[in-house]
């Protein structure tokens, strides 16, 4: 052989360790506390079903609440401008209020609502995970 790998100890004396596959699922499977609840979820028992229904309801309620914020905050504007035309004539730093609200302020508002949603939705999921992984429920 032309090339030789650098010598690592006496060759052949120690057999190389057997490769073993490490799979994430097997590690989590050792967590027996959560095992039963997970099985309940997967097998659609009444308890599991109720848990999932609760999560879906919480997430939907969150999404609906935040869309209501947007519906009032942004959706109310055309109506407001329509019934109070003087608002459209108000200027701030020489720019009419509707231009500032729609052209500038609406974007940070939308991003703020989105940021709040991501935080709260992840909290709902964390609560659900904690509930499922509790030893007793």
């Amino acid at each position: 052989m032309a090339k030789q790998l650098p010598d690592v100890g006496s060759s052949g004396a120690v057999p190389p360790p057997r490769r073993s596959r490490i799979v994430l699922a097997e590690i989590t499977r050792q967590d027996t506390r959560a095992e039963r609840t997970r099985a309940e979820l997967a097998q659609q028992t009444q308890v599991g079903e109720a848990l999932v229904r609760g999560l879906v309801r919480a997430q939907l309620a969150l999404a609906l609440r935040l869309s209501l914020v947007v519906a009032i905050g942004l959706g109310g504007l055309p109506w407001l401008f329509a019934i109070a035309p003087s608002l459209g004539r108000t200027t701030i730093a020489g720019v009419n209020l509707p231009w500032l609200l729609l052209g500038v302020a609406s974007f940070p508002f939308l991003i703020g609502v989105g940021w709040a949603y991501v935080r709260l939705a992840e909290r709902n999921e964390q609560d659900f995970t904690d509930l499922v992984q509790r030893p007793e429920h």
Binding site: P78, G88, V118, F128
Partner: protein, 546 residues
């Protein structure tokens, strides 16, 4: 136009697009690479790519043109285009990614197990995709004709050919890189010139956007009319103009009133008021509904979500996209506003969509700075056509290859791409008279009246049945498609029928939701037996993956 930087800039953007496409081709080895980029793209890249894909000709050119023409009422376009991502985030992003479906037809089959609904969804994906592709190609033809004087079909066919070749050869892995690059190019191409434009406006003594005597020409101008219109001259004369007419104005001349354009300062500056303009208010709310709810139903937007590794990442990616898109939408409005001062002739010629590409030279003169900035803007516009068309083409071709041709192979995908690109290329040659943003608005209305109720009810309501979903899509989406066909092919309407047809979302979206719910409740027995398992899969956090 004698700007010798524009054509090299457009060629450079096209070459970089194709170049990154081929770089991606070397990486794309399997069908999975082609279709979903092996689901291994980081959230930041993915968000920039989604933003790059989303900011189309309508965003880059159309919004500024509409603001120039109509004023404050059309600011709802950029607000709605951004808010669409919020609706997507709130109701769809994470569950849809967890569903594991790749296309909208996949979702239908997975959630409701109906072949018939899958075929219907396929037809809608193709219709919406083509409806959205045509104005992109049209914008390309218009831009090239404006800045380089080429015939209109050249730009449209050039973009169609480049995009078809790129998607067919590189697939999705390639266009992710292309589109992330193009987001930043588009942002730069609007942000840098706007700084120079603002400085120029200061240097010119801050001319008023809405002078008390109406807009005036700043320099001697010759206008070639592109669309038929009725002008009211300052001395009260009424004059009909038709395409090809030439009008000459001296510096300081007032701009005549143009039919269908908000020339009057108050119409432009102030929102629709109640009482005298109920139809305007209805149109505004209809537009809000279409754009807020339509984004989630656009096929090229949804397909991107499958490149996120999991539901939580999909949510975070969507938030980043919302921020990127929101930052971009601050800019086109400024072009429309400055266009009132520097390019009022576009109100007469009817080419308001060209304001973004013409403004730099109009305001800064044809010195080096003006020409370089004009070239930068033209490059950004081409990035917009190329990226949105690539995304649309990928999703339409994906659906055609799996659902129409019935092959999952790379060769099938390439064949589908050629079909998916050829049809809108031919269509775009016949619609040069349509308003870019109007067609895009109709595509949003169709998406909001078909896929939005299907997705929202499918994800959150256990009671949805295949019959209910089909009936809702046929009723709402069918009504919206009917409105599109009447707008494009039918006779000109006036009064309430015109408003109801031009902005249909306010009645077609509630119609779709109502029919879907009522018919589902009437066919309750048909609710899929595995709905509980599907709900579990859609909503369970990744930490509990079983």
């Amino acid at each position: 136009m004698g700007n010798d930087f524009v054509v090299p800039a457009i060629v450079a953007v096209t070459l970089v697009t194709v170049g990154i496409g081929f770089y991606g081709l070397r990486l794309a080895r399997t069908t999975s690479d082609f279709l979903v980029a092996s689901r291994a793209i980081s959230p930041t890249w993915n968000a920039a790519a989604i933003g790059g894909e989303y900011l189309s000709a309508a965003s880059f050119l159309g919004i500024a043109g509409l603001v120039l023409k109509y004023g404050v009422d059309v600011l709802w376009y950029p607000v709605g285009f951004a808010a669409g991502y919020l609706a997507l985030l709130l109701f769809v992003a994470a569950p849809l990614r967890r569903s594991g479906a790749f296309t909208l037809p996949d979702f239908c089959e997975l959630r409701l197990g109906s072949r018939r609904l899958r075929i219907l969804a396929t037809a809608f994906v193709i219709f919406i995709g083509w409806l959205y592709l045509v104005p992109q190609l049209q914008g390309a033809g218009l831009t090239l004709a404006t800045v380089a004087g080429s015939p209109y079909p050249l730009g449209a066919l050039l973009v169609a050919a480049v995009v078809t070749a790129n998607v067919a050869l590189g697939g999705m892995r390639a266009i992710t890189f292309v589109q992330a690059f193009q987001y930043w190019l588009k942002l730069t191409a609007l942000a840098v010139p706007v700084i120079f434009l603002a400085l120029q406006w200061q240097a010119d003594g801050r001319p008023a956007v809405t002078p008390p005597d109406g807009p005036t020409f700043r320099a001697a101008t010759t206008v070639v009319v592109e669309h038929r219109a009725t002008l009211t001259l300052p001395d009260g004369d009424i004059r009909e103009v038709r395409p090809g007419d030439e009008l000459t104005f001296a510096a300081g001349d007032p701009v005549p009133d143009v039919s269908g354009v908000a020339t009057d300062a108050n119409d432009w500056l102030l929102p629709s008021a109640a009482g005298d303009d109920d139809r305007g208010l209805f149109a505004t709310y209809s537009l809000i509904l279409a754009t807020f709810l339509g984004t989630m139903g656009l096929p090229h937007v949804l397909v991107r979500f499958y490149t996120n590794p999991d539901g939580a990442a999909a949510r975070r990616t969507t938030l980043v996209v919302l921020a990127l898109v929101g930052a971009f939408y601050l800019l086109p409005t400024l072009y429309g506003v400055l266009g009132r001062i520097y390019t009022p002739q576009l109100l007469l010629s009817g080419q308001t969509d060209a304001v973004v590409v013409l403004l730099p030279e109009a305001a800064l003169g044809d010195g080096l700075a003006g020409r370089l900035l004009a070239a930068l803007v033209a490059a950004g516009a081409f990035a917009a056509f190329l990226s949105t068309s690539s995304g649309l083409l990928t999703s339409v071709a994906g659906v055609i290859s799996t659902d129409v041709l019935g092959r999952g192979s790379v060769r099938g995908f390439r064949l589908a791409t050629v079909i998916a690109g050829g049809v809108p290329a031919v269509l775009s040659l016949h619609v040069s008279g349509l308003d870019v943003s109007q067609v895009v608005g109709l595509a949003f209305a169709v998406a909001a009246s078909s896929f939005c109720p299907l997705l929202v009810l499918g994800i959150w309501w256990r009671g949805l049945t295949d019959v209910g979903a089909t009936a809702g899509v046929v009723a709402g989406g069918g009504a919206a498609i009917g409105a599109v066909l009447v707008t494009v092919l039918g006779p000109p309407l006036s009064g309430w029928p015109a408003t109801l047809i031009a902005q249909p979302a306010a009645w077609t979206v509630p119609l779709a939701f109502t029919v879907m719910v009522v018919v589902s409740m009437a066919t309750r027995r048909r609710a899929p037996a595995d709905v509980a398992a599907t709900m579990l899969r859609l909503h369970t956090p990744e930490a509990l993956r079983m």
